[in-house]
Symmetry: C2
DNA sequence: ATTATAATGCGACTAAGTTGCATTAAAGTT
DNA sequence: AACTTTAATGCAACTTAGTCGCATTATAAT
């Protein structure tokens, strides 16, 4: 797969995104970003590690860099793991407490919290499937 | 302090709550529940451990029991820690990504997510204080 | 007072995430 | 194309949350 050539949004590919932030384009970074670009849901380190060759330290150092540069963002689930995804328009995530699946919520949740800046919304509970099959 | 005599809601004190669930009332459990009852914000293990004498395994085993019995509930913050609080009416929590404070949100957030059962809402971003003093 | 059973403490363990340090690779310069 | 600077990598050692098995102890009922 010629993943590094995928076009994201405004004609950007992984090379441009990384270089725009004055980061060196290494194979570790290309690998990591390709996986995240192709994922349709947020991924944890455990999800990713089987598919990468880089060291754990490299992984986390890149995660930190990418988060600083707003290339990705992350949040904690209820399984003690952090989940990573390519930075998109802020949108809520639903974490199912039964099946532990994580879904991106497309519906807009409107509420006004005076004074706060809400960057991330995590909803926990039962997803559609588990809610239907619940006792 | 005669903490075990505090009255919660329907004339319940810690003794009654624990016994109602068919759990033995040990000093570890009394200690843990007293701390959580008195906390005005959710607490992590790190917050609690200086004030308890029980072993870490006992702490977590009781946390698991209490969660099963809906005496407490917990959620993950963005500092890799789990936070615990006495189970109350479900209400959102706001986690500040700058000062890492955790607040209970009293305002009702109304939205309808068809099919899901939302048990827990975590908002992340800048709290009132940090948002005001942000660049 | 006795006893059954649940809860505790201890030690060993797992897994995420971090840090220091020596080595290597990227990207600009001549 | 070789040279150089600086950033990124791999490795090993570490920290901390959380879990588990097991022997011992405390609770609550008889």
């Amino acid at each position: 797969m010629q993943l590094s050539r995928i076009i994201i949004g405004d004609g950007l590919n992984i090379e441009n995104i990384v270089k725009k932030k004055n980061l060196k384009l290494t194979s570790a970074r290309r690998e990591l970003l390709e996986i995240l670009f192709y994922a349709k849901n947020p991924l944890s380190y455990e999800d990713i590690k089987e598919n990468i060759v880089m060291d754990k330290a490299t992984f986390y150092r890149n995660i930190i860099k990418f988060e600083e540069e707003n290339i990705i963002n992350s949040f904690e689930s209820n399984d003690k793991k952090r989940y990573f995804e390519i930075f998109q328009q802020p949108h809520p995530h639903f974490v199912c407490s039964r099946c532990h699946n994580i879904e991106c919520i497309k519906e807009r949740l409107d509420f006004n919290l005076e004074g706060y800046l809400v960057e991330n919304i995590i909803l926990k509970g039962l997803c559609k499937v588990c809610n239907k099959t619940s006792i």
